[in-house]
């Protein structure tokens, strides 16, 4: 149900852009105003969310330790899974953010009744496709910089060159596009057909998947099928970047407006959704703290010094006679 709703919402968005920028001819709205609005909402929303998280205190030092602590010099510490200082923590975070290490952890040795053999392990697939998804997304994003820079920096050109190194079709096919779509489809199908994931999924899980899929497909449609006028697109995008927005005189295919509208929706949706895991992962206290709270003091800003233990004196008052009788030392004689 949640999946259907999400699908229809995304479909409605496509139709809206199609009709709005095409039939109604609101090219300025879809090409200029909405993208600017989206960028503002994104920046403001993203920053305020991050700031909101960042200003919330971390009262306790609670890393989840995934390996041997640093204790005695002759016991080998596991500095990446149980860091005791900043550099170890930076490596732990880097591995987490860049290689999704925790998801990879799932690859356990598969012992079976009839001897060791490799079995199907869903979580490993999840790791692989999640990695494919995020990296191809990043690559595609970086490639798009060529539309927002003039002259296009060398690294971006290099990136484009390697991404299309297989030289398939005209215009040449980017491998990242393919990988991206395959990965989204995997993530989607997993949500639908994996019973347990399906059970926990809600609309805000399906909606971004459909939205991103629609963005990918509309982008590919522009490039490979509609073959939009790239010069005109760049005129528009450069206009946006230089704050002198214009709708180019040469017509741009309507699919471009659909694409840019969906991207705008994604930008606006981003700060209010689970997609904020992009920022959250850096701030997660179980990962970004070293396990050092036995070595040095971690300060809790709202620690209440008024909370005192039931004092020894009160304890002794309670049991003094019995203590004396049992021969236990007491501070105050009876």
């Amino acid at each position: 149900m949640a999946a259907f709703y999400s699908f229809f919402v995304v479909l409605a968005l496509v139709v809206l852009a199609w009709a709005g920028a095409g039939e109604a001819g609101w090219k300025g709205l879809f090409g200029i105003y909405i993208p600017y609005l989206a960028l503002l909402v994104f920046l403001f929303g993203f920053l305020s969310k991050i700031l909101n998280w960042a200003k919330t205190p971390v009262p306790f030092c609670i890393p989840t330790t995934g390996g041997q602590q640093k204790s005695l010099p002759w016991i080998k510490n596991n500095p990446w899974d149980n860091p005791y200082n900043t550099s170890g923590t930076v490596i732990r975070m880097a591995l987490e953010v860049l290689t999704f290490r925790s998801l990879f952890r799932n690859t356990s040795v598969q012992l079976q009744q009839d001897g060791p053999k490799v079995g199907y392990n869903s979580a490993k697939w999840l790791w692989l496709f999640a990695l494919m998804f995020h990296y191809s997304f990043l690559l595609i994003l970086l490639r798009h910089l060529r539309l927002f820079t003039n002259p296009v920096p060398m690294p971006i050109l290099k990136l484009e060159f390697f991404d299309s190194i297989l030289q398939i079709g005209v215009p040449v096919l980017y491998q990242s596009d393919m990988i991206f779509v395959v990965a989204i489809l995997f993530l989607f199908l997993r949500r639908v057909f994996d019973g347990k994931v399906n059970y926990i999924s809600i609309m805000s899980d399906y909606f971004p998947l459909f939205l991103i899929l629609a963005i990918a497909l509309s982008g590919m449609w522009m490039r490979y099928i509609a073959k939009v006028d790239v010069i005109a697109v760049k005129e528009l995008t450069m206009g946006l970047v230089t704050l002198h927005p214009v709708i180019p005189k040469d017509p741009i295919d309507i699919s471009f407006y659909v694409h840019i509208f969906l991207v705008s929706v994604l930008f606006m949706y981003f700060p209010f959704s689970k997609l904020m895991h992009m920022g959250g992962v850096f701030l997660s206290p179980t990962r970004n703290m070293p396990n050092f709270s036995r070595r040095q003091m971690w300060v809790n800003p709202w620690n209440d010094p008024a909370i005192k233990p039931h004092s020894y004196a009160a304890y002794e008052d309670d049991f003094r006679e019995k203590m004396i009788e049992a021969g236990l030392p007491v501070d105050k004689k009876a």
């Binding site: 971390v58 330790t65 926990i200 997660s284 206290p285 049992a326």
Partner: protein, 538 residues
């Protein structure tokens, strides 16, 4: 193909759960799946709200009239106090990586025991009350309204979580269900829904210094009793001191070990070790509890109970504190103690009086783990050991969740065990170290009425124990946790019969050769030692 008659014995039973959305499945309380609620007297003593007589099976839970307001306000307050809580409410993508990591889900199969869904129980309310999307879109955005059934559901499932953090290890964002469970339990406590097996020990600990409510004279009496048993076995009289001012070291261990089998043998192991070393140390009756059930109640309670350790160390004027074998005690010491009750500048960084090793790992809290202490002694050849006195034990080792995932104490106990027993076998990789499976009794769920659910949750651990029992003939499961020592015997009894449970220092006590001891013919449990029998008995 001819149609055969329907097998009649099948049609009358409805086997499968209909695929209803989890939000529409009401919580169901049955004997064995919940713990008894806190008694009114205990709540009053602890100053907790809404003391009353009630039962989870009642329709009316007698919540305060404005319970919704209380919970919503409590929720808001905690979101502002804990970044962890806020982030864990916001960033979950429901990837499902944690789903099959919870022992209660693995052994029982209730979908709401999947960590992600356990957190969604809270998250759905968060969305409804604190996010725009949830307020506007409601259920479409995964939000729902705070109803009485939600509170009941929280009570059922947040008291079916042992805060073992296994899910957190596998989460790409480190979302820690233990953290979420703590918050939920605090919210439940605000409206008077908590369990007696946590609150009564907490109340006892506050007043008498230990969970059991043992009074000081009785504590000393128990120690003498155990000292007599040691004399029976070893022929050596140990002389532990209690509440002694001016000692160098204060020793604190869970009180469960002073009177319950098989913890007492670990307790005897400590006494033998300290006697052997002749160190200047003392026990305390005021701080006679290492465990801290405040961790399972609220941060305030945890702080209050923990504060006794430093309070007593200061009063006695010791230099540093040595801590015994316990799981959640060490989570508190490692991750909370210094923050809550530090700085401990009246103490010194622990230095072993025997080897001179300075333990920098404890430079802040000034509190050392007994296996770190013993491992250092063994490494420096300071202990005369005869591992063959443990030859009747084939040992495997269970990592406690808290020392594994909240500290990283993995090698020290293994090093000690390997030096005091001749035969040691590890359980499979995905059941030990940081991936260790819970005993099912953590976070205050080791009560008798919860046994059935706990055994269910103990299946993953039991299964791994059974494996080493069958393949290597393992008959002993060593551990460094008092809760484990109480929970694992029934667990093994059910899932891997024939495997007993012991503490690491019980094994040390058996192996340690004391000066002037008599020929040992039995172990600390007073069972005959194979190969060491008296000749006339043969």
């Amino acid at each position: 193909m001819a149609k055969y008659p329907p097998p009649e014995e099948l049609i009358k039973i409805n086997y499968s759960t209909p695929p209803t959305s989890w939000m529409d499945v009401p919580p169901e309380f049955k004997p064995g799946n919940f713990s008894y609620p806190g008694k009114p007297d205990i709540l009053k003593y602890l100053g907790l709200p809404n003391p009353r007589v009630w039962s989870p099976t009642d329709d009316d839970w007698k919540l305060p009239e404005n319970w919704k307001e209380i919970i919503t306000e409590g929720f808001r307050e905690r979101l502002e106090k804990y970044r962890s809580f806020k982030i864990f409410m916001d960033v979950c993508v429901r990837c499902g990586a944690c789903a099959d990591k919870c022992h209660f889900f693995i052994g029982g199969g209730d979908p709401k025991n999947m960590p992600v869904l356990r957190a969604e129980l809270l998250r759905s309310i968060y969305r409804g009350d604190f996010t725009m999307a949830g307020k506007i879109l409601g259920r479409l955005a995964g939000a729902r309204k705070l109803e009485i059934d939600v509170v009941k559901e929280w009570f059922l499932y947040f008291y079916q979580c042992t805060e073992c953090r296994r899910c957190s290890l596998f989460c790409p964002y480190g979302i820690d269900t233990a953290e979420i469970t703590m918050m939920a339990r605090e919210l439940l406590t605000l409206v008077g829904c908590n369990i007696n097996w946590i609150l009564e020990p907490a109340a006892n600990c506050n007043r008498t210094g230990n969970h059991l409510g043992i009074q000081p004279h009785a504590y000393k009496d128990m120690m003498e009793f155990l000292a007599e048993d040691i004399e029976t076995v070893t022929g050596v009289k140990v002389n532990p001191s209690v509440n002694r001012k001016g000692a160098e070291i204060l020793f604190i261990t869970p009180s469960g070990d002073i009177f319950a089998d098989p913890g007492i043998y670990t307790y005897m192991g400590y006494m033998i070790l300290f006697e052997y070393l002749g160190i200047d140390y003392t026990w305390s009756t005021y701080a006679s509890e290492g465990g801290n059930f405040g961790l399972f109640t609220s941060d305030t309670m945890m702080k209050k109970l923990n504060a006794k350790m430093y309070h007593e160390a200061k009063r006695l004027g010791v230099k540093w504190i040595l801590g015994g074998e316990c799981g959640h005690m060490w989570r508190v010491i490692n991750q909370y103690m210094l923050t809550m009750n530090g700085p401990a500048d009246f103490l010194e960084t622990p230095v072993s009086p025997i080897t001179g090793t300075k333990f920098d790992a404890a430079a802040g809290t000034k509190m050392l783990h007994i296996t770190e202490f013993t491992a250092d002694l063994i490494k420096n050849n300071k202990l005369k050991l005869d591992p063959y006195r443990n030859a009747n034990f084939k040992v495997t080792y269970h990592d406690s969740c808290n020392t594994a995932r909240g500290m990283g104490l993995l090698e020290e106990p293994r090093y000690v065990i390997k030096n005091v027993v001749p035969e040691f076998y590890e359980m499979p990789d995905n059941a030990i170290r940081e991936q260790t499976f819970c005993c099912g009794g953590g976070a205050g769920l080791n009560n008798e009425e919860f046994t059935e659910t706990r055994l269910r949750g103990g299946l993953p651990r039991g299964n791994a124990v059974k494996y080493v029992r069958d393949t290597h003939g393992v008959n002993t499961l060593a551990c460094i946790c008092a809760i484990d020592r109480a929970t694992l015997p029934p667990l093994c009894n059910y899932w891997a019969p024939g495997v007993g449970v012991c503490g690491v220092h019980e094994l040390v006590g058996n192996a340690l050769i004391l000066d002037g001891e008599k020929k040992r013919t039995m172990d600390l449990r007073q069972n005959p030692l194979p190969g060491f029998e008296d000749e006339e008995e043969e």
